[in-house]
């Protein structure tokens, strides 16, 4: 396949042009606009798939990449500077997979939105944002450098702001959107610091250049703010991930993101936005490794995974459960990065995107059906649901599959990816004691995940309806293509076989199907030494793919290990796999006992751990800490103080003060006079004037003889001074 402008850019231009056109037309011709958005997305999906096909079915080589550059702007001045900023497109296996996933999910979410948002007053506008949002993510994936990553990254921040604040009549939406934007922006600022650090060191922010610089050792021996430069840069970039991917301690924004319409939650939580953070960390993995912060990353990931899972235990809002599960799963991905499970982390990103998109859409489907006739709003509270599987069987099936996937049941995608992460964590733990805690937290979180997901399932779909009135008003699910098709497609992709190559774990072979561990084969850590002499060509020139020879890669899971190590690793992986299965089942069992059978009363647990329960309900008080502690008690009073200082003190005394100084001298002059001659014939008009006149008399007291004295004193003074 030829990589030209025409074959890559439509991915981006599809949704982008739809966005631009829609700005102008969507209000008047809503249907056309919506169609345009979906069509743009389809174009994007089509071209993404072409690339995906070329990379995965065509070249099938780990080293294959396409890099295209075109100039953006430059500051070239003869003899002074040669500085130029180029944009570019960098395609390798990872971005090809990512592109397909993003475009696919986004397309399906677009389709679903035509169902979900149809009655909304701002139906059209929603698609405007959606298009831009997708553009941002696709652009980020296509980017060949950190700067354009940052640009699209921020663009997504803006879109998430707009989408979360979509229902702007609600005060809460305003808070949530601002919170989302500000929290991620904290990470962004660090990310920008990282970009600057890298840019000034490497002289470029292209991935290939950074890899080459790492290989060349350009970072060695350099320091910034007391840290080795690589560590500093890696930490800064990772802070970007923490913000965007809602890692501890900046996880607070993501649950609030559900203020937006549910499809947009699906987009934020699955394909875009949060995925971007992990994607960035994966791209910058060599730097993280060089900076030696992988342990730190593992801890952050594990803490997030565990902490969010615990909070999810007590949520009653269906979307909130999903939101915390997202944070938790993102924690897994970050944990994966931390323990060196590069491949698995990325796979979890993809699998999670698929099943989480599906979960959210399904949740949306549920919520959309549950219409409260009293408040005229949708119902999201699980305590009011129950027994819905009869009313909406298709949604139920979709959601069940996804729950299996996320809980890590065998055969489903979540098992494939999560198990590998946990396995690698276990391997790391056996090698270094520092990793025991992340590994332990990871396994615990897996148990919790299974538990809270099944809790959600049981509460929603099983048992008796708890709000009879609501239940009765709920329509039986009618098949509609734009509601069920996306769910169906996504459900199909929750199967693990799409990713592992073996639909039945390798035990059952389907005849006629070649079983390839394509994912594990194609995605591997960037090997920086390969980039020492890279070649990037501007658009328009002949593609370099032809003159480079890429060998078809073979699956070799042990290529990083010696034989002895490989044995050990296999053993640990096997233990990990069985443990995960056991844990998933245990989670299901507890949830079953509690919420389906009612054998164990959750209330007792609540009472027993009431302190913890409260802490969990308050999300470990992070919001309180940030909003009340830091913002309301710290920053705002400080700002007010500063502002008052600025206008009250600074301005009054330092600036208006010059007049006061004048008056001061003026008064001193008067006062001196009062010492020399006492006051006679004060012509005061009022008490105050009199008072000041008595105290502060001038030289200019009107007494001519005093003037004479001054005259002579000064003159004698001059003479005395000069002679």
């Amino acid at each position: 396949m030829e990589y030209t402008l025409g074959s890559i850019l439509p991915i981006l231009l599809g949704p982008f042009l739809a966005f631009v056109v829609n700005i102008f037309i969507v209000k008047k011709w809503t249907k056309l606009g919506v169609f345009l958005s979906c069509f743009g997305m389809f174009v994007s999906l089509f071209y993404s798939f072409r690339i995906f096909k070329d990379f995965v079915f065509g070249k099938y080589s780990t080293g294959y990449y396409v890099h295209k550059v075109f100039p953006w702007f430059d500051l070239k001045a003869a003899g002074v500077s040669n500085f130029a900023v180029d944009m570019g497109i960098y395609l390798d296996n990872m971005s090809a997979v990512m592109l397909f996933m993003v475009a696919g999910c986004a397309f399906l979410i677009h389709i679903f939105s035509t169902y979900y948002m149809a009655g909304d007053a701002r139906y059209g506008r929603f698609f405007v944002y959606l298009s831009l949002f997708t553009t941002g993510m696709l652009g980020l994936v296509l980017s060949d450098n950190l700067l354009s990553v940052f640009i699209f990254w921020e663009l997504m921040g803006f879109c998430s702001y707009s989408l979360i604040g979509f229902y702007y009549e609600k005060e809460g939406a305003g808070n949530a959107s601002m919170k989302a934007f500000m929290t991620t922006r904290i990470g962004d600022v660090f990310f920008l610091v990282g970009i600057l650090a890298i840019w000034t060191t490497v002289g470029s922010v292209r991935f290939v250049d950074i890899y080459a610089a790492i290989a060349d050792g350009s970072f060695n021996g350099l320091y910034a703010v007391g840290l080795p430069l690589a560590t500093f840069a890696a930490l800064s970039v990772f802070m970007g991930t923490i913000g965007k991917s809602a890692q501890f301690p900046l996880q607070v924004w993501l649950p609030d993101a559900m203020w937006g319409p549910t499809p947009c939650s699906a987009l934020i939580h699955a394909a875009t936005m949060v995925a971007a953070g992990v994607y960035l960390s994966l791209r910058m993995y060599p730097l993280m490794e060089l900076g030696g912060i992988t342990t730190f990353i593992a801890y952050i990931g594990a803490i997030t995974a565990f902490g969010a899972a615990t909070i999810a235990l007590v949520q009653t809002d269906i979307k909130a459960v999903l939101a915390y599960s997202t944070i938790s799963q993102l924690g897994y991905m970050v944990l994966g990065i931390g323990v060196g499970a590069y491949n698995a982390a990325f796979m979890h990103l993809i699998t999670h995107a698929v099943f989480k998109a599906c979960l959210f859409l399904a949740a949306g489907s549920v919520i959309h059906s549950l219409h409260d006739h009293h408040t005229h709003g949708h119902v999201q509270e699980m305590p009011r649901m129950g027994g819905l599987r009869k009313k909406m069987p298709l949604t139920f099936i979709a959601m069940l599959c996804c729950t299996f996937a996320i809980a890590g049941f065998p055969l489903f995608s979540g098992f494939v990816s999560k198990d590998r992460i946990l396995g690698d964590a276990l391997v790391m733990a056996t090698q270094s004691k520092a990793y025991w805690i992340p590994a332990f937290l990871g396994f615990t979180a897996a148990l919790l995940t299974a538990f809270y997901m099944f809790r959600m399932m049981f509460l929603t779909f099983f048992g008796e309806p708890r709000d009879k009135d609501l239940y009765d008003h709920t329509h039986v699910e009618k098949l509609s293509w734009n509601r069920n098709l996306p769910l169906l497609i996504l459900t199909v992709f929750t199967l693990g076989g799409w990713y592992s190559g073996h639909f039945f774990g390798g035990w059952v072979k389907i005849p006629g199907v070649e079983h390839k561990e394509w994912f594990a084969t194609l995605i591997e850590k960037p090997r920086v030494e390969n980039f020492k002499a890279y070649k990037s060509l501007p658009f328009g020139s002949v593609d370099t793919g032809a003159d480079r020879v890429f060998e078809e890669s073979q699956f070799n899971p042990d290529k990083y290990f010696t034989e002895k190590e490989a044995h050990h690793v296999h053993l640990v992986h096997a233990i990990g796999a069985w443990a995960s299965i056991a844990i998933a089942l245990a989670g299901w069992f507890i949830a079953f006992m509690m919420y389906s059978r009612g054998a164990w009363n959750p209330g007792r647990w609540v009472n027993a751990f009431s302190g913890w329960y409260r802490a969990l309900q308050n999300k470990y008080y992070f919001d309180d800490l940030y909003v009340k502690g830091i913002l309301q008690k710290g920053l705002l009073p400080f700002n007010n103080l500063l502002s008052r200082f600025d206008m009250g003190v600074f301005d009054r005394y330092a600036v208006d003060g010059w007049e006061a100084v004048n008056r001061f001298f003026y008064r001193i002059a008067k006062w001196v006079d009062d010492v020399i001659v006492d006051s006679v014939g004060v012509d005061g008009t009022g008490a105050s004037v009199r008072f000041f006149n008595v105290i502060l008399r001038t030289f200019q007291n009107g007494k001519i003889q005093f003037y004479f004295i001054i005259f002579l004193v000064v003159m004698v003074g001059y003479i005395w001074k000069l002679v």
Partner: protein, 515 residues
């Protein structure tokens, strides 16, 4: 010395022609006056576009083609000398653009229309003069003349406390500029001693290039470096205009009290004159001192960024908030100047332009709102909401506001980002700590704007906002060029960067010699 084109003359005097025309129109024909002013500014804008088209971006320094030179005062070797280079061209274009938009925005002014528009055009001419002068004396004259219309425009058409604000603005700036005056005259007298110049001169270009590096002067029995001493003088003069902390306190007053159009001009153009002064005068003439004081400039820039942002956050008056945000944003320009690298300087000049457009949008929007509400409280002093639910009530307005707001906070894709990124890139290597801290200023910048937006636009429409009407055609019309500018230059900054990069590079290489 004269170039082939009289374009600069034409641009400079066109508004004065407008002033004359307006003075001749009878007071009662208010619409005639408005249309004359509008017509005049549009012609001026067209002329600046012609200038832009004819401009040759490859020439470093002044474009001989456009030079205008007439002897003025032979005794002092003062000349009426105009020129344009890559640094002044964006400013000239920005000026003419903003002025023509502001005429539209002042359409509703009803108090002595004649005086308003006459002064307004007078202001435009003097601003052009500042950006075009190549003679220090001429520069100074325009620099000061500009204060007079400004004083009246704030003082007559301003808000409640306008008198105080006008006087403060005037005195502050006057204070700074007289220091500059001393520096200017001192330079004149030492310039003859320099073999490169040979004669007493006010010619900025002749004096540029670090020719006064080795001079010293005696003050109170101490030998002080001439260039450092007068750099500080000029620094204060320009810093007040920028405004750099601690010389910034006139700005909130002036902005809050000034009528909308004047706020726009003040923030959009006049503040840029300060940084332009650095680029045109302080840096080229005293490069060595500039390098010597770069640390101070950088720290002051940082203080501006953070302090301005923190103060902005505490404001309950929208306009004051935006005024402080200008303080913060001009801090970025100062940072870029302190960097003295290609990226930083280009970023600074670009930021001057971009801040001009984005902050103009903000002020125009606040003005539009003010016309409806007649107050500007986000939260009233008694704690009640001043605005609420504007998003629902004024959808078009809100969209434009969002664009302006995000442009102002430097969202990629909108104009502020590239300039800020360039500035940071330029300054990072030299001042890592400052960069990191300044980036937090950026963070706070987002915080106060979003917080303001949340408080004013989200939620239910409060009772008093229900009567507000959305933007009308005129308002949309004058906002649209700015929207286009903000978006286009955010995506594709080359049209501006191209004209200025060679000139800026010239300056950077000069400074590099002394680094």
């Amino acid at each position: 010395m004269n170039g082939h084109s009289n374009l600069l003359n034409l641009i400079l005097w066109m508004p004065m022609l407008g002033v004359l025309a307006i003075l001749l129109i009878p007071k009662t024909k208010e619409n005639w006056i408005r249309y004359t002013a509008l017509f005049n500014t549009i012609i001026t804008f067209a002329l600046t576009i012609v200038l832009y088209m004819k401009f040759d971006p490859t020439v470093p320094g002044m474009q001989q083609y456009f030079n205008v030179f007439h002897p003025w005062i032979s005794q002092f070797n003062i000349n009426y000398s105009l020129g344009v280079d890559g640094i002044s061209l964006p400013m000239i274009v920005l000026t003419s653009l903003l002025f023509s938009l502001c005429i539209l925005c002042s359409w509703t002014i009803s108090k002595s229309v004649k005086g308003y528009f006459a002064l307004f055009l007078f202001l435009q001419s003097s601003v052009f003069g500042v950006f075009m002068s190549l003679d220090f004396f001429l520069f100074y004259v325009y620099w000061e003349v500009m204060l007079i219309p400004m004083f009246f425009l704030i003082g007559i058409w301003g808000g409640e406390n306008r008198e105080y604000a006008a006087v403060k603005f005037f005195l502050y700036t006057f204070f700074g500029s007289v220091l500059m005056l001393v520096g200017m005259v001192a330079l004149y007298f030492v310039s003859a001693d320099n073999p490169d110049i040979g004669t007493n001169t006010f010619d900025i270009l002749a004096m540029s290039g670090g020719k006064f590096t080795d001079l010293s002067l005696r003050l109170f029995g101490m030998d002080i470096s001439f260039s450092k001493f007068f750099f500080v003088m000029m620094f204060i003069g320009f810093a007040i205009k920028v405004p750099v902390f601690p010389f910034h306190t006139w700005l909130p007053h002036a902005h809050v009290q000034a009528p909308t159009a004047i706020s726009v001009i003040l923030a959009g153009v006049l503040l840029k004159m300060g940084t332009y002064g650095f680029l045109r005068i302080a840096f080229p003439i005293f490069p060595q001192a500039s390098v010597h004081f770069a640390d101070c400039i950088a720290w002051l820039g940082l203080i501006n960024v953070v302090y301005g942002a923190l103060c902005a956050m505490a404001q309950t008056d929208v306009k004051k908030l935006i005024a402080y945000s200008s303080v913060s944003h001009m801090g970025f320009v100062m940072l870029g100047l302190a960097a003295m690298t290609v990226q930083g300087m280009n970023g600074a000049v670009l930021q001057m332009f971009n801040h001009g457009t984005s902050t103009a949008m903000m002020f125009l929007l606040v003005g539009i709102l003010y016309e409806r509400s007649h107050h500007r409280w986000i939260v009233r002093p008694d704690g009640t909401k001043g605005f609420g639910g504007l998003y629902t009530q004024l959808p078009k307005y809100s969209i434009v506001f969002i664009i302006a707001m995000f442009a102002s906070m430097g969202l990629p894709g909108l104009s502020g980002f590239i300039s800020e990124a360039l500035i940071f890139l330029g300054i990072y290597e030299k001042y890592t700590t400052i960069t990191v801290l300044a980036l937090f200023g950026l963070l706070i910048g987002a915080a106060y704007l979003l917080w303001m937006f949340k408080r004013m636009f989200f939620g239910e429409v409060i009772e008093e906002c229900k009567s507000y009407t959305d933007m009308n055609a005129r308002e949309i019309f004058y906002m649209s060029p700015l929207i286009v500018a903000v978006v286009v230059f955010g995506i594709y900054p080359t049209p501006i960067l191209d004209v200025m990069k060679v000139s800026v590079g010239n300056l950077v290489s000069l400074l590099a010699k002394f680094n």
